[in-house]
């Protein structure tokens, strides 16, 4: 990894879907840079052949049988919606 700025803050903030002001961008990219600089200490470690841990106590095949076990009423499901019509959530027109 390079020694100059690590993070493309515009690109990453857009990916994360968060608008940032210029001041926020400046502050954040500086802070994140020092954090990223810090976490890069992991490079020191040789992890060749080490299995990654995704779960602390891995088990397999955790499933349920195909049975219906309840639901939320439409009213309950939509009661926190910022905008609704005809029992659906209103969103700005999106082009798919």
């Amino acid at each position: 990894m390079t020694e100059e700025k690590h993070i493309d803050i515009d690109y990453t903030a857009k990916l994360a879907r968060i608008n940032l002001t210029d001041a926020e961008k400046e502050k954040l990219s500086e802070q994140l840079d020092s954090i990223i600089g810090y976490v890069e200490k992991l490079e020191e470690l040789d992890t060749e052949g080490v299995e990654p841990t995704a779960h602390p106590h891995p088990v397999y095949n955790v499933w349920q049988e195909d049975e219906v076990k309840g639901e939320l009423s439409t009213e309950e499901a939509l009661k926190n919606a910022p905008a609704q019509r005809d029992n659906m959530i209103v969103v700005p027109k999106v082009v798919d």
């Binding site: 990894m1 690590h6 993070i7 803050i9 690109y11 990453t12 903030a13 857009k14 990916l15 994360a16 879907r17 968060i18 608008n19 940032l20 926020e24 954040l28 802070q31 994140l32 020092s34 954090i35 990223i36 810090y38 976490v39 890069e40 200490k41 992991l42 490079e43 470690l45 992890t47 080490v50 299995e51 990654p52 841990t53 995704a54 779960h55 602390p56 106590h57 088990v59 955790v62 349920q64 939320l72 309950e76 499901a77 009661k79 926190n80 919606a81 910022p82 905008a83 959530i89 969103v91 700005p92 027109k93 999106v94 082009v95």
Partner: protein, 490 residues
């Protein structure tokens, strides 16, 4: 009564309730009165609903009157961290994003408490989405440390720790992703226990980092921690990461294990960095206490300790960046009033800009970065591999010892605002607690003394699913000291 009602333990109160020397309604009234008395100073609560709590207490009294008590928790007020779903109650995660959100369902641990008659009391403050170590990242208020109102209570379960310490609830639930139960417990002089990953269902806990999060108790004594842990433990088929393992009777196990000569390990890497800070003194004295009991004290090594914080911040932020994507201004969160309607993503960008606080933005962007194209292997995959090494360190240490003793936090509670501008130094204050989350092992913080008038915690780390041993070890210390009966003057 020998002490004020609001500082009595759950087991004492349970006995009074059982003997009908106290009603749940009177207990709840006393709890409400105490809450109001000190809340201006402490600021532990995001909200509470007196009417609802009294109704729950009333139902409890009715059960007891009919001879159908649900057990030792029936009628006991339990404070709930505001990131656990309670049907019909606000669930804010101390975020503007969820300021108006009311949960339409119960978390599994809440369902369990309800079925045992506990009175769910209030919504306790936290760092926004549990991201922080000081509770200063709440969008609503800063909770104060009951021992020194200028200091932070720790975090992210700062409200839960402060409320327990201040007698605003008999006990509380918190969540711990990197120390968020143990560190505030340590700072507020209460007992905090992070169970083994998979012991308590995460269903209904607003996720911060799914592979690290656990729900656990914060209480004023060890037996209450056992009692509350007992109530919320157990396999849950709604959480695929919940482990199929039986729950022991913790109180019975503690009774059986009394006087056991434990082999206790001191991880040399933890003590090397802590050296002889003032906060270390009570911890060293606690270690001497165990030696005096006849326990064998052994130095052990956790060689990858130095990499834990880096590993943690990669894994936790990566998972968080994805877990928090659902807070988007569409279905149930804050939606920006003004956004660029021609830009189909602006409704997200603007709602999230307004709804998330600074620390959440920082972590979501960091997590997005470490997962983004070209960086995954260098950061996330690497961190998962180092996580394996950290897990193995503990496995090796536990071949030699029953449990590990360490400080919970490098320092006692710091002053409000002190670390707010330096996120990295804030992150580093978690160095003793986060490894337990990475390894998935249980950890507990126990009040063991003071430094400059602020409580200091002893951390006990144990083998997976050996919470009973942690509780037993802690109980030995607690019985020989009177920290559990020392309370802040408010």
């Amino acid at each position: 009564m020998s002490k004020e009602l609001h500082y009595k333990s759950a087991s004492e109160l349970s006995e009074l309730l059982e003997k009908k020397e106290l009603s749940a309604v009177d207990l709840m009234k006393a709890t409400i009165a105490r809450t109001k008395e000190v809340e201006d100073k402490v600021g532990a609560f995001n909200s509470y609903d007196e009417v609802d709590a009294l109704a729950q207490a009333d139902a409890s009294d009715a059960r007891r009157a009919a001879g159908g008590s649900f057990g030792p928790l029936d009628g006991i007020p339990v404070g709930i961290k505001d990131n656990l779903a309670v049907n019909g109650q606000p669930l804010t995660c101390s975020s503007k994003m969820l300021e108006k959100f009311v949960s339409p369902y119960d978390a599994t641990c809440i369902e369990k408490l309800k079925s045992q008659g506990a009175v769910l009391w209030g919504r306790l403050n936290l760092d926004e989405y549990a991201m922080g170590s000081s509770t200063e990242n709440s969008a609503f208020k800063t909770t104060s440390n009951p021992w020194n109102l200028d200091c932070i209570p720790g975090g992210s379960s700062g409200g839960s720790a402060a409320a327990a310490a201040a007698g605003q609830a008999v006990m509380t639930l918190g969540s711990d992703t990197g120390g968020s139960i143990r560190q505030p417990a340590s700072h507020c002089g209460v007992v905090g226990l992070k169970p083994t990953y998979g012991r308590v269902s995460r269903y209904g806990l607003a996720a911060f980092a799914s592979s690290l999060d656990q729900v656990g108790p914060l209480t004023r004594n060890v037996k209450d921690a056992a009692l509350l842990l007992q109530a919320i433990s157990g396999h849950d088929e709604r959480d695929s990461t919940s482990y199929k393992v039986s729950t022991p009777n913790f109180l019975e196990a503690m009774e059986k294990q009394r006087g056991h000569k434990w082999t206790l390990g001191l991880p040399k890497e933890y003590f090397a960095t802590a050296a002889d800070t003032p906060a270390m003194k009570p911890v060293l004295e606690a270690i001497e206490f165990y030696r005096s009991l006849g326990c064998e004290i052994k130095e052990v090594s956790l060689p990858h300790t130095d990499y834990a914080v880096a590993t943690y911040y990669i894994i936790a932020t990566a998972e968080a960046s994805s877990n928090l994507a659902r807070y988007d201004g569409i279905r149930y969160t804050h939606r920006a009033e003004k956004f660029d309607a021609k830009d189909s993503v602006d409704i997200y960008c603007q709602s999230r800009a307004e709804g998330f606080g600074e620390e959440v933005k920082r972590r979501v962007i960091l997590g997005t970065y470490v997962l983004s194209s070209g960086y995954y292997d260098a950061y996330y995959l690497k961190a998962q591999k180092v996580r394996t090494l950290i897990r193995r360190d503990f496995e090796n240490a536990f071949k030699e010892v029953d449990a590990l003793l360490t400080p919970t936090s490098p320092t006692p509670a710091f002053k409000k605002g002190e670390k707010a501008s330096d996120p990295l130094s804030m992150y580093l204050s978690d160095i003793y607690t986060i490894s337990a989350n990475l390894a998935g092992i249980p950890g507990m913080s126990l009040p063991c003394g003071y430094s400059d008038g602020l409580p200091v915690g002893l951390q006990i780390l144990g083998k997976p699913f050996k919470e009973d041993e942690l509780l037993s070890i802690a109980h030995e210390f607690e019985m020989a000291h009177d920290f559990k009966d020392q309370h802040p003057s408010l």
